[in-house]
Symmetry: C2
């Protein structure tokens, strides 16, 4: 292949940047040229932060969230409720729930959702370790907080089945009209669920 | 500041990624989590390609385009017309003109445009070296191929003044209706220029 950019160093950086999701070759070139215009230290800091993150990052032994220590800050916080565990897909979802300020229990990060089409089965996810945590007997409630998609529903159902007869309450996030959304633009399945699961009105 | 992401390695990578133009913290987190899910080699390849590019890239001594050698492939190509020099803002513009397949002369990469608001004056651009190239006497035509913006026009005018009495023809890109555009949606200044600079019709 003929080089497109007159420099194989530039070519190479553009190729690597364009492997990132949502970044095409045009954007990758724009990013690379931006780095060339800026201080060399900035490019080195970026490059090194990526390499260090990938090589040195550790995960919490208990909940599998990213962590500084063997056990993460949330799992080791005595003020948090260790009897309630919120099961989430990934690290980003932990951040989302923490931002709500509404949850004071623990998390369990699955690392993905069951998706046969993408070749992801239960054994690639942190499901066995979740069952073990529940089998310890301390946990009273498991909140299934996965996306309301087919993969999320499949994973919810699989976990529910795996929990079997373990003495734990299993709940899931409420499905309903999003705050700020108009009825007119809410799909009929969501609307149906929001009717079935209606709650007492409090003014 | 309290850590947002439970791991300073992740935090750090997100911060560095979000310095890139057009990438906010949300996108930066998505990119970082993508890299965490992929093979470690991929993150290392990305990080190293960025560092190597910034540290080792070289520029052509003659036209200031990025280059593998002291003098770039275009400047050292004997089949190209060394008497015509196309003056462009940056490396990306060289790629744009090369893609047209319509230009067989040389380039001169300014490295930016004069922009007092951004604190960029002529001395930060490769204008002196352009005047020197022209003063050598080999160049017959300078094509000013800068953006049709205020900064582009200012830079065009400055170069034109600096070229002074040097025996060189100075031209600029035609202004007119973009190919594929409708008259209705073309602004009146462009339309006015396209009338003034009308060309002979050839069927």
């Amino acid at each position: 292949m003929e080089r497109e950019y007159a420099s194989s160093l530039l070519e190479n950086a553009v190729t690597e940047l364009s492997r990132l999701p949502g970044i095409g070759r045009k954007t990758a070139l724009r990013l690379a040229l931006h780095l060339l215009r800026r201080d060399p230290d900035e490019a080195v800091a970026l490059g090194e932060s990526i390499i260090r993150m990938r090589k040195e990052i550790t995960y919490c032994r208990c909940c599998h969230n990213v962590s500084e220590n063997d056990v993460c800050d949330i799992c080791s916080d005595p003020r948090r409720d260790a009897t309630t565990v919120c099961v989430v897909e990934n690290v980003k979802d932990v951040i989302c729930f923490e931002r709500t300020g509404q949850f004071h229990g623990m998390y369990h990060v699955l690392g993905g959702l069951i998706s046969p089409l993408d070749g992801i089965g239960p054994e690639q996810l942190e499901i066995d370790s979740l069952i073990e945590r529940v089998a310890d007997g301390q946990i009273k409630e498991i909140i299934l907080a996965l996306s309301a998609t087919m993969e999320g529903d499949t994973t919810n159902f699989y976990i529910y089945r795996r929990l079997g007869t373990l003495p734990v309450k299993v709940t899931q996030l409420a499905r309903g009209v999003s705050v700020g959304n108009e009825i007119e633009y809410t799909d009929e399945i969501t609307l149906g669920r929001s009717l079935l699961n209606r709650t007492a009105f409090n003014a």
